[in-house]
Amino acid sequence: MTASTTTPSGDDAPLLAVDGLSVQFQTRRGTAHVLDEVGFTLARGQTLGLVGESGCGKSMTALAMMRLIPQPPGRIAAGSVRLHGRELLALPEAEMRRVRGNRLSMIFQEPMTSLNPVFTIGEQIAESVRLHLGLDRRAALAHAVDMLAAVGIPAPARRAHDYPHHFSGGMRQRAMIAMALACSPDALIADEPTTALDVTVQAQIFDLMAELRERTGTAILLITHDMGAVAEMADRVAVMYAGRIVEEGGVHDILERPLHPYTQGLVACAPGRRRTAPGETLREIPGTVPSLLRRAEACAFAERCEHARPLCRQRPPPGSQPASGRRVRCWLYPETTPADTASPA
């Protein structure tokens, strides 16, 4: 509740603004540039899909926003994360604790291990409510039961007394969502919320998240590598590669007319997005994500890119805006290019 007192006037100010966020890890072999000037904005009630392959920095972005990066090896080197215009990176740790789970919540990838096995589901949801809303034990438990009902757990009053091992994976993820939303946060970071679940349950969880978003206006940062999930849930998409955001735009633009060669590869890789003839192999992007130990003196994707030119290996591409609401970081779209969204090649 403390954050909302500093809400600036003006509705067009984004709810959540991440800008120039850079994270470095000290390793034995040198400094790893895990995030490099990551930036995006999120408006109230909006969903931004953050996509990219494993190791590209999606989860690290989420942890950096929550200020949960393990501090001895890791370090937020630069950047800003503003929630309602309030700079989270500058808050004292005690203040930040009041933001976590209260104004900015997070759900994790593994519902099977994200609940403490020795407490009942109800106790665990009540815990976060007591932490932030200052309710007493009984009121907090009643609120927890309400939350379980809201996320579609049948017989919530009874199930609140169950232990996590009594719940299936899908139900645990519902419980996690209930816990994350118990204090009605402004924004929810969902880090691959359905990766560990089977396909039918995935669809249910997305339906639930969409429904809760409609009802509460909570903005969602959906971290995923599933283009199907993005198509279903997101309003906007940011594509990450090697710790950088290489392309950002509306979900239709990104899926229908991807600009960056990496995004084109990602979209082409997704089965079902494009009709594949029987017997035709799915496309893949050759190669793997480069080492993050060298700070990009060139385009990080150049080694795997079929359109790579000598320039790509010499200097990192600047960001450009090929169309309104779209950003791309690629030498194929230099700053001077007129608004032209045609795909290259």
Partner: protein, 299 residues
């Protein structure tokens, strides 16, 4: 709100499962272990002697009850015989259990308190705190514990309090290492991160999220520590380093050790009492170890 009936388990299994908390599940496994139940029975016997012994057999254990060196089962006045001064052995057994078991429990409590605090701080915070506390633990570990305890007791007066503190001070290192390992493992787990992301601070995370999950191995080791502490006290008594004014099983053995060939019963009966207690504690500890082992839980 849409309901998703297919995601809920069938009602009857849910009802059967709902009543089963981790504690009950552990008791179910424990109950199946015959040795553990025997240990529990032995401990019950010891507890009975401790609580009711002096009431049922109100004889002064320091008083001279009969001739010295009375053999057991020969004189109804001293059923278990008398020692070299003519003190009643049965009276010693009946009263001495209190001191022995109290020292064992208190020393184990101190051991666990110091050990868990040191281990938890080291394992949770890591970095320089871990470095410092681990060095401290190693410093205590390299000291021979019996010798160190003897030094402590001789430095101060040999009262039961000092003996208890001395035992606690020399035996916490194993618990500290165990707690450190558990905290290091558990602090990385997803549910701890999830609660950290809910805005919990380090104290809450340590006490509420990590500690309850670290308890099973700590409880098992604590029971075994009770046994060791009892033996430790007996050892100190045997060396004449325990409180001579409080009757304990260890004191009886210590006092009669010079006459062990002339009156075997004066050392054997208190020795048996200690044996039964430590055996009971160990069997229960083993049973708890199984009871907390999730692989032995039936789903």
């Amino acid at each position: 709100m849409s309901a998703f009936p297919d995601s809920a388990p069938s009602p009857d299994t849910a009802a059967a499962e709902a009543a089963r908390s981790p504690g009950r599940e552990a008791w179910r496994v424990f109950r199946r272990n015959k040795a553990a139940l025997l240990g529990l029975a032995l401990l019950g016997l010891v507890a009975l002697v401790m609580l009711l012994g002096p009431t049922l057999y109100p004889v002064d254990p320091f008083g001279l009850a009969s001739q010295p060196f009375t053999e057991p089962f020969t004189n109804a006045a001293v059923p278990l015989g008398s020692d070299y001064l003519g003190r009643d052995i049965l009276a010693g057994i009946a009263v001495g259990g209190r001191a022995t078991v109290t020292v064992g429990l208190a020393a184990a409590a101190i051991t666990v308190l110091i050990g868990v605090t040191v281990g938890a701080l080291a394992g949770y915070f890591q970095g320089w705190a871990d470095e410092l506390l681990t060095r401290l633990t190693e410093l205590f570990q390299v000291l021979p514990s019996l010798l160190f305890a003897m030094v402590l007791v001789t430095l101060f007066s040999p009262s039961l309090t000092v003996v208890t503190l001395a035992i606690g001070a020399v035996s916490w290192t194993t618990t500290a290492r165990l707690a450190r390992a558990e905290f290091m493992r558990l602090r990385r787990l997803e549910y701890v991160n999830a609660v950290r992301a809910m805005g919990a601070g380090p104290l809450r995370l340590m006490l509420r999220e990590v500690l309850p999950n670290a308890l099973p191995p700590l409880i098992v080791s604590a029971t075994l520590i009770v046994g060791t502490a009892i033996l430790f006290e007996a050892g100190l008594s045997f060396l004449g380093l325990s409180d001579p004014n409080v009757m304990s099983w260890g004191l009886m053995i210590g006092a009669n050790r010079a006459y062990i060939l002339d009156c075997w019963w004066a050392v054997t009966f208190p020795g048996l009492a200690i044996f039964v207690t430590v055996l009971g504690v160990s069997l229960v500890g083993d049973g708890l170890n199984d009871a907390f082992n999730p692989r032995l839980h039936q789903r």
